[in-house]
Amino acid sequence: MKRIAVISGKGGTGKTMVCAALAAIFPPDLVLGDCDVDASNLGLIFQPEIISRSPYYGLKVAEIDQDTCTRCGSCEEHCRFGAIRSQEGEFLVDSIRCEGCSVCTLVCPKEAVSMVQKVNGELYYSNTRIAPLSHARLEPGSGTSGLLVREVRKQADERDGDRAFFLSDGPPGIGCPLIATVTGMDAVLIVTEPSLSGLHDLKRVVTVAEGFGVTIFVAINKYTLEEEIATRIEDYCVERGLHVVGKIPFDPTVIESIRNGRPVTDYDSPAADAIRRMWEEIAEIWVNT
């Protein structure tokens, strides 16, 4: 299976739009993923029909039995995450802060602390008109989004590991969910935009991706809005030895297609043409080698 993720560094550059458009023109032997578990949007384009759902637990969290607790304060003292606070004489666990390390169970002299499972989201496997989709929903305020990304990946591998391609939408940023997304990919497509922030963030995500030794493709979305900065981005990519596979013009059809819940490649438009040409470039370098 060949695996590619669409990432960006900066948020809102058009990852999901590009990913959906690529999915619609990809070779058919495909499974889709949405590794942006914080704000999963690929489903808004493909209206998935959910076939199976399972709870996602993440790490356990501490719970203090107030009847056994002698209020010694050892747990609060040793918690590095500020997750235990004393309130009106009782020691309480802030489950949002708790990282599940279990140190409190270790230091409690009365065994008053136990680790309990807590639902942190839901994992889905769905049918779409394009291909099956592995996706998830993270409970707002939960930690461990990186772990949930791994579950999304694992599910796609287990159910559809015999398919030829895995194409996944990715999260913004360069932290834990992004690293979980890029791990084990063969290639990434970084969608950037012609702004100083876009260029700054591109450089950081490139540094992270290079650390994984994946093939790196770059697409400049809405390049016609600031052609001078778009040129600077191209210059940077050339200097760094990255493939600029696509330059997508600003195109009002994109917004229209998203509002209609369709991939932009369903429309005859300049952005759709650019994405088709981009796929040919990617295929040339990545698929046919």
Partner: protein, 303 residues
Amino acid sequence: MKIAVASGKGGTGKSTFAANLALSLSKSNDVVLVDCDVEEPNLHLFFDAEHEESEVTVPVPVVDPGKCTFCGKCGDFCQYGAITVLKDDILILMDLCHSCGGCRIVCPYDAITEVPRVIGKVRDSQPDEHLRLVTGVLNEGETHAPVVIQMAKALAGSTPTPAGAVFEHQFRELVCSMADVTIYDSSPGIACPVIETVEGADYVVLVTESTPFGIHDLELAIGVVEKLGIPAGVVINRSDGLDEMTEELCRRHSLEIIMRIPFDRRIAGVQNRGGLFSQDMPEWQGRFTDLYHHIRETGGGGA
């Protein structure tokens, strides 16, 4: 007063809003702007100034080979799978370590000590007499963004640190701002970095755009502020007038739409080139200042 700016979806204009709000308020208040989007910090692009830098470290275990008996207790205890104990060796995967200190406590032979590991930095600058910018930067390849956010917030809450000050790995309770207004600019999403950023704020501004993605992710972000119980209001950025669905969502959650920034190629252009539109279009400074007073009067509470 402490105001956090968050969004759910990326690229809706959080940093644009935060930077223009900070600039406008700094005309009549002492403002500290804190870039808590430590994975991709951008605010320094709008406020060019010399900065002082300090490292952010986390404690990680090291094993004294003279004391270790390879009993395996540390590896069994570690909830993150960061320690593998072999017959005559120990492998520690620093990326997986959460710095909880459990392995040190559980070791019966005192063979584990902790040493600081650098995962990022915080930068402190003073772009203007009444505007201070504190930026958290997560190093490329690192995963523990919340620790860097914490340190950036702690630094912002203190008086400016002397050059080269070294942070201990201390947690919480450090934030006690000296400024009139502190603005925290969050990363996108709804997970731990966002919680770390908005916790302790008196008010959260949720910046959105009226697209299906923007509305879907706004609802998730509303879930975060409702869970934390912090008062919030919504800013619709790049509004093209088709905001009914966003308005409907806000009505359902009793959230006020506190500002609309129209879709305007001029605004986008200024922003893309690293400028601030409230500088080029000064009438916006009055709007941002009025907005701040409105927040104070209606929802912000706080000091």
